[in-house]
Amino acid sequence: MSVIVGLEIHCQLDTATKLFCGCSTDYRDDGPNTHVCPVCLGLPGSLPVLNRRAVEYALRVAKALHCTVPEESVFARKNYFYPDLNKGFQITQYDRPLAVSGYLDIEGDDGEKRVRITRVHMEEDPGRLVHKGGTDRPRYSLVDYNRAGIPLIEIVTEPDLRSPKEARRFLNKLRATLEYLGVFDSEKEGSLRVDANISLEGSERVEIKNITSYKGVEKALTFEITRQKNALRRGQKVVRETRHFVEARGVTTSARSKEMEQDYRYFPEPDLAPLRVADWVERIVLPELPDARRQRFMEQYGCSLIHARTLTGDLRLADFYEKVAGEDPILAATWVADTLLGELNYRDMSISAVPPEVFSGLLSLVRNRVITDRNGIDVLRVLLDQLKEKGTCETPAECVGRLGLRAIPAGETGDDPVTRAAREALEENPSAAQDYRNGRKEALNFLVGQVMKKTRGCAKPADVNRVLVRLLEEG
């Protein structure tokens, strides 16, 4: 049964001021209702004035998504009542959006895939409700208008996605693209919200609202597919409805049918002139976007396709990589893409928490064989723990010194730490040694592990191998 998914993505544009007034958008660390003025509070008599920068940002997105920008687009009022809505309507774009008919290429389930973009339009964010006294049955709610008027773009795709994983990949690519364009900061809380339309082939369409994370999209869709398949298996019909995603429980719940019947009574916003910005588009010079950068990473640094894709899939990561690529870009690629990312995820840390010079320092210790790969990872873990805890860390060299993790030079003389450790290991594990001599070569791996343990990872595996084989063959 094939799955059909389309997405509506709301992203906050990372402008300095709001969409229709001069209030700062940098409200996240401040108290409620501190970034407000008559306009974004919707005080009687206030009027919107369009933020030029927000339009430029939205056009950058339109261009990067290969959209057509019509001669004229029109702001419209979407009328509904809600306590977080400052004016009793939201200024958005309706039947004449800023941009239409674009696409974004992604890595799909079956290779490269083109996802069509229906439209891109601009709108204002409403305020925010803070529920007090329990989430399920709050006793009362407070309203914070700091968020009211933050510029949003809504990006709507055609129903071109075929699995939750593809949806996730699309979002990741879109996020990377927006960040490359310098118009979006994915690290800001609440900067992205997704509604997903999903149907199983031949069934009604269900809209899932209120998904606020990248992972959430995949989770919500996966849940919804299972739910719908189960319903069909039991002979029930999938009803056309709106459902909410409850992130904490990973489930979708049916929204009251009332919300579906909402009539928004759209009409053109009389306080804003139609927007005629088609001619701005050609003046926009797009920066290098993820696909181009991926190509360059392969050509310039010799990265593998997989590494290049991972490294360029996030702007900060790509920038970080270019800072640490140094003399051995392939080594750096392996360390960033395969090791560092995993360690960051494990700690729920962002790449921006890692000073590139610290990581470069670590890489050069590994590259110059001052420490072994294995101990390199240990040092990295120690440094990341320090960064997570206090935001700073010691230098990699200091860390290596403090923990005594310098690599031990290889021994040929018979009286070096590696050879001593190897002798000990053979004495302590005579049966393994015997196994080896009897032809079970895999016994060597066990013995290598024992030596590594004794040298606390400071011996180089190749040396240990050589010494052990020599001793075994001598004995």
């Binding site: 919707g42 009687p44 004035v49 009328n79 004016k87 009539d263 009409f267």
Partner: protein
């Protein structure tokens, strides 16, 4: 504001003011120390602004409308806020939640509306200058009924920032005064580009009225003297036109077929916009608060049911209906098409004439309660709404009396030719004076 103060203790027997400021400080400038009344739908920092509605009682704006800032900069003494039909919805000032204003020319009659308080304050001699607002005639109607001068400027010429919206695409703030020169002066203070209003035009107004109208072609549409226009009013207005002809103007009768749909287009448009504009009065941010113990939608309903008057609720309901899906095309979209026809008519006429003139109102001021059904009330706006639909300037200047009650001559001009309508009104005003 620098140190001078004006004491203002008017004998407000006609209920022109909703509130006055007894001691007003003022500075220097072209209007230094001149008392100016401001209609209560124009935001005044620190002074309660209610729009004649209970739903805004107690609301004190934290900011000045741009026109108020401009007044203060020229030293005007803002002495009070004037009564009005609730949110501007009415033509008599009877729809104020705080009681009607009476017409100083005949206290048994309405002053017109919705800027009835401003017109009465000027007509009663309480202030020489007042600001009104005009959505479909709300400056010109009370100016005509009270026997004063009122100008609705070209849409965009005066900033709307701080004007509490009723129908954004139609309304303008404008000057009201006892004579054309004072209207001209006040207009020169309030007009000009305002970056806070996206519909604002960069067209400052700096004009010396000129009474020489020789060669001016005045178009007189038949529709302005049609059914519903009191023949006595028509006769007085024709006398005025004849006077202008004697002063060298050319009178050209013409037709304005779009008039047949103008009133419907006007009411659908203003009610639709109003239904959206007035959605914000939910008791969350200002005005009397909603009952926080109730679910929000119940609290909103209760607040709005109690806070809005009958006419406002009627217009919100109709406007909501006109915008709803399935009816939008039939009403709102059609109204916009009719509006384009009106504009087209004006464009066509203004290629043949320089101004268009006729009566401001079809009748003289009504008695209280005379227009008790809404439809006959709406019909009285028929002559004023075309200028709002087209966004062109229009002035009302007193041009005689019928049974002792003032009649207004309306002069409409090309887009951006506010100066010309002022000149024609000035020529008339100067012409009738001995």
């Amino acid at each position: 504001m620098s140190g001078k103060t004006l004491s203002f203790h008017p004998d407000d027997r006609y209920n022109a003011f909703l509130r006055t400021i007894p001691e007003v400080s003022y500075g220097g400038g072209r209007l230094s120390g001149i008392p100016v009344a401001v209609k209560d739908n124009i935001s005044t920092r620190g002074i309660e602004t209610t729009c004649g509605s209970r739903i805004l009682s107690g609301y004190v704006p934290p900011y000045d409308a741009t026109v108020v800032t401009l007044l203060r900069k020229e030293g005007a003494a803002i002495v009070g806020k004037t009564n009005m039909d609730e949110f501007g919805m009415g033509s008599t000032t009877e729809n104020s939640a705080f009681g009607p204003t009476r017409n100083p020319r005949d206290p048994s009659r309405v002053p017109g509306g919705s800027s009835g308080g401003s017109a009465a304050a000027v007509a009663a001699g309480l202030v020489p200058l007042a600001l009104g607002t005009d959505t479909g005639g709300s400056i010109r109607c009370p100016a005509a009924f009270c026997g004063i001068v009122g100008l609705k400027p070209t849409y965009g010429r005066v900033s709307r920032y701080g004007l509490v919206a009723y129908a954004n695409s139609l309304e303008q703030i404008g000057p009201m005064a006892a004579n054309v020169s004072d209207v001209n002066l006040l207009m020169s203070v309030i007009a000009g580009y305002d970056p806070r209003d996206s519909t604002s035009l960069d067209a400052p107004y700096s004009h010396v009225p000129n009474m020489d109208i020789r060669g001016t072609r005045i178009g007189v549409p038949e529709e302005f003297f049609g059914e519903g226009v009191d023949p006595r009013v028509a006769s007085v207005v024709w006398d005025a036109l004849t006077l202008l002809e004697r002063k060298g103007a050319e009178i050209i009768t013409c037709r304005m077929p779009s008039m047949s749909h103008a009133l419907a287009a006007y009411y659908v448009t203003c009610m639709s916009e109003a239904s959206s504009n007035l959605a914000r009065y939910d008791g969350v941010r200002y005005g009397p608060p909603s009952d926080v113990r109730k679910p929000w939608h119940e609290a909103f309903q209760e607040r709005r049911r109690e806070g809005f008057g009958l006419e406002v609720r009627r217009r919100i309901m109709i406007g909501t209906f006109a915008l709803s899906s399935g009816y939008y095309g039939k009403y709102y979209a059609k109204a916009q098409a009719a509006r384009r026809n009106v504009r087209e008519d004006f464009r066509r006429l203004f290629s043949e004439v320089d101004v268009i003139a006729g009566p401001t109102m079809p009748t003289v001021a009504f008695r209280f309660g005379e227009k008790s059904d809404p439809l006959s009330m709406y019909l009285s706006d028929i002559l004023t709404v075309p200028a709002n639909l087209a966004g062109v300037p229009a002035i009302s200047v007193p041009c005689g009396k019928v049974e002792g009650l003032p009649v207004g001559l309306q002069v409409m001009g090309r887009w951006m030719e506010d100066e010309r309508v002022v000149d024609v009104a000035y020529a008339y005003e100067q012409g009738v004076q001995p």
